[in-house]
């Protein structure tokens, strides 16, 4: 039940943010579309298994802020490589990925891909490892020191 309320709230807020027209008829149509989506999601049985709204904590904005900083630094690195292509030294590496939840693992994999210079090439549940393709030696070092993994583990929060 908690999932349904969370989903309906998020959808309603999204609708209110996108609409911009707040007349009674339009609002009723909006409420109907929210109800339709919640009903379809219930039929698909995807809710609650992976879409845990409990992971949406205050830690998320902190992590995103840090990630945006990382993205800017990584971009400067790759931009230098574009200007001087002799710098590039592609390699495929494996790094440990020990996260508590599957959402954490996917967050880690996506964060690696989101920072230019590294791309997740293989991600399997339960292997505790991520295979990544790196463009530069600096990117390899950045991935090996495990800073991002620590942040993702912090994002997952303490054991419940």
């Amino acid at each position: 039940m908690r999932y349904f309320i969370a989903l309906a709230t998020v959808l309603a807020l999204l609708w209110l943010g996108l609409s911009g027209v707040y007349k009674p008829l339009i609002l009723i149509l909006g409420a109907a579309s929210v109800a339709l989506v919640v009903w379809i999601t219930e039929r698909m049985e995807v809710l609650g298994a992976e879409h845990d709204p409990g992971t949406l904590s205050w830690r998320l904005p902190v992590y995103w802020t840090w990630l945006i900083g990382e993205i800017i630094l990584a971009n400067l690195m790759v931009a230098r490589a574009v200007i001087n292509p002799k710098r590039i030294k592609p390699s495929v590496i494996k790094v440990p990925a020990t996260t508590r939840t599957r959402v954490g693992l996917v967050t880690y994999g996506n964060s690696i891909t989101l920072t230019p210079g590294t791309i997740t090439t293989e991600l399997t549940d339960g292997s505790g490892e991520i295979q990544a393709h790196a463009l530069l030696d600096e990117a390899v070092d950045g991935l090996r020191n495990g800073d991002m993994l620590k942040r993702v583990q912090w994002l997952e929060g303490p054991n419940q």
């Binding site: 911009g20 971009n75 790759v78 390699s91 989101l114 920072t115 997740t120 090439t121 293989e122």
Partner: protein, 113 residues
Amino acid sequence: MIDIVIHVLSAGLLLTGAAFALVGGVGLVRFPDLYTRLHAGGITDTIAPLLIIAGLILQAGVSILTIKLLLILLFLLFTTPTASHATVRAAIAAGIKPQGSEDPTKERASSNT
């Protein structure tokens, strides 16, 4: 006064974003193989939207337009890594080997000594 500051800041963000987009485009043309080109595509997919949409938000002010611009940024930042990862998976499944994939551990050992 505050108007001028916002305009200058917005212009700076927009032009820096445009410059990064150009660098990413040049990288797409210059880089030697598929996997390195993905990194160049990564520039145009991450920092260019970040900076350009930040610049546009400063111009739009507080309105429904800002919410929509933020949503566009959110969608782009969530979907582009997934699309890149899917491309890599498909390319590996098709048998395209990345450069430097021979033995990563050996390379690390030689660079440490």
